[in-house]
């Protein structure tokens, strides 16, 4: 068995769901399994980390390290030099990618992105061609090998362990380490539920024809109630909606009860982010679009007529 670390992401004072997923994914092949967590909240993770299979939490530094990727990568590299983990698993988040990429430069080790499963300390799994094929990749070169695991690849499950032992670590930082600093944070209020938790996700693709058509999807979402609107990379690249809407290989992975795709052809980059939805409805002019084959219900037609008609039908049913 191998020493494996999971780099935690905090959600308030608790480890994020993604962190617990990562622990669940690696604990069968890890011994010992440790969590690396940054900031003052790290101590509070002992119970949840232990319950999901970790024996140790390295609580690194103070709040100054929160959101500082260079300092975090430097701290992990120093800690890894002491404890020699064979594999370090990061969540494939914005922060995770920043820290993992820098760590790779410091350790000279391999880095694999888009991981959906951990087979062994030197073997990770990913999916290609929109998830139609599963590929196991052998990770070579010097340890610690680094992987970025996609959120929602598996479900988090407690294994019933007691609290992990917290080891507080005060990293030494080299002088003159230049890092970016956050001046202000802004939350952008989205109307309605978030893409992460909405039971219905309605996604627009290039087939919508333009940004104004997203208003039609907003209407449908509002008729349904608990629905959020997303977009494909093509629609985001076209500048129709902000990056925060993007569902796919990068962008968000969603697993709603119902996924409604409007004018989405189903590029592989997109399918990876939504194929675990419980029910899939596709509306597209092209019956040969890849997403039509994946759909539980595919409707061949023009989104500009089908979507408003559906909105009206849902309002009619709600009213009767």
């Amino acid at each position: 068995m191998a020493t494996i670390w999971v780099v935690a992401e905090l959600d308030g004072d608790a480890p994020s769901t993604t962190t617990l997923e990562l622990l669940t994914a690696v604990r069968e092949v890890a011994d010992p399994l440790a969590v690396v967590a940054f900031g003052a909240g790290a101590d509070a993770m002992a119970a949840a980390a232990g319950a999901h299979g970790a024996s140790t939490v390295f609580a690194v530094g103070d709040d100054a390290l929160t959101g500082a990727p260079r300092a975090q990568a430097t701290a992990i590299a120093a800690l890894a030099a002491t404890h020699a983990p064979e594999l370090i698993v990061f969540p494939a988040s914005y922060e995770g990618r920043d820290v993992a990429g820098r760590l790779q430069a410091l350790t000279g080790s391999t880095l694999m992105g888009n991981v959906t499963g951990i087979v062994a300390a030197d073997r990770a799994r990913t999916e290609i061609l929109g998830g139609t094929f599963v590929v196991d990749v052998a990770l070579e070169g010097p340890a610690p090998r680094i992987v970025l695991m996609k959120p929602r690849s598996i479900e988090a499950e407690a294994s019933g362990g007691g609290p992990a032992e917290v080891q507080r670590v005060t990293p030494e930082m080299p002088d003159g380490l230049r890092d970016a600093a956050v001046v202000a944070r802004h939350e952008e209020a989205r109307t309605g539920p978030s893409l992460d938790t909405a039971p219905v996700v309605i996604t627009g693709g290039r087939g919508l024809g333009g940004p104004e058509a997203f208003a039609m999807l907003d209407e449908l979402a509002s008729a349904i109630g608990e629905a959020a609107v997303g977009a494909t990379r093509a629609a985001v690249d076209a500048g129709w909606v902000p990056y925060a809407y993007q569902i796919g290989q990068t962008g968000k992975t969603v697993t709603p009860e119902v996924y409604v795709a409007a004018g989405v052809s189903g590029a592989l980059q997109h399918i990876v982010g939504m194929k675990k939805s419980k029910r899939i409805v596709a509306i597209n002019k092209d019956p040969e679009a890849p997403l039509m084959k994946l759909a539980d219900l595919g409707v061949i037609g023009d989104v500009a007529t089908v979507v408003p008609a559906l909105t009206e039908e849902i309002r009619r049913r709600a009213g009767s």
């Binding site: 990618r97 990429g101 391999t110 590929v135 196991d136 956050v182 219900l297 039908e313 709600a318």
Partner: protein
């Protein structure tokens, strides 16, 4: 204000599985659309403040077309790193090559895309930043440079952060951060006479060991297949069917 921009030559279109179960890549290759936002930023900054834009690409000889496109947009010079030893290299090898190529000229800013259209790992720019000892801002949706400092709006899952760092620095741009211009006919003509330097690994002071692949495919298996659904023509019945499905899922 000198800017180095990384541009990638990628297969366009959707890859498919051929009848023999081998991957058939898109037929055409081209400049990654995600890189045009950074090229546009570099052009805007240097048009305002003076200085040069150098475009760096690693790839086969055909990738010179990606640089030509950037030169036609207005970039001043290009570097194409081509070497047989680079076939199959991964993120670390790529980052080492790009960092070495960037070091060949003085720069204030290095610009990259958030992720490539074919690999999606999204870590190469920050690995380069670490190799070059630079601070970085990733996922920037708005960037400006003022008084020797970079100011950017960084996309976050729930909004954005205002972020700053001193120059030199590295930034990666999200799609839509700028509005990339189309090359003009004049630009396309001028591009042909702009300097395009072709370099090998040895020219960069690197050897095959620096870029040796560190990952290999151990096993490929088809994912469990999902039973196919039903496809219907649009019409009143289809609308009712969608509504029924939503009702079955108890979401309306």
């Amino acid at each position: 204000m000198n800017v180095v921009v990384f541009a990638k030559w990628v297969p366009l279109g959707t890859p498919e599985l051929g009848e023999d179960r081998r991957l058939v890549r898109g037929r055409d290759d081209g400049l990654d659309a995600g890189d045009e936002f950074g090229i546009e930023l570099a052009l805007q900054l240097t048009e305002r403040d003076g200085g040069d834009v150098t475009v760096v690409t690693m790839g086969p000889e055909g990738a010179a077309a990606a640089i030509q496109r950037a030169l036609a947009m207005g970039a001043h010079r290009g570097i194409l790193v081509t070497d047989d030893a680079l076939a199959g290299t991964d993120t670390l090898g790529t980052a080492r090559v790009l960092a070495a190529a960037a070091r060949r000229q003085p720069f204030d800013l290095v610009v990259g895309g958030v992720e490539s259209a074919d690999g999606y790992t999204g870590t190469v720019p920050v690995t380069v930043a670490e190799l070059l000892d630079l601070p970085s801002v990733t996922f920037a949706r708005k960037v400006d440079v003022e008084g020797g400092a970079l100011r950017a709006e960084r996309q976050t899952p729930g909004g954005y952060d205002e972020v700053t760092c001193s120059l030199p620095a590295l930034v990666t741009l999200t799609a839509g951060a700028t509005e990339p211009r189309y090359p003009s006919v004049k630009g396309i003509m001028q591009a042909k006479s702009k300097p395009l330097e072709r370099l090998t690994l040895a020219d960069l002071g690197l050897g095959p060991a620096d870029v040796a692949p560190t990952q290999s495919v151990a096993e490929v298996a088809p994912a469990p297949e999902k039973p196919g659904g039903e496809i219907v023509e649009a019409g009143d019945d289809a609308i009712a069917r969608i509504a029924d499905l939503l009702a079955e899922a108890k979401v309306i």
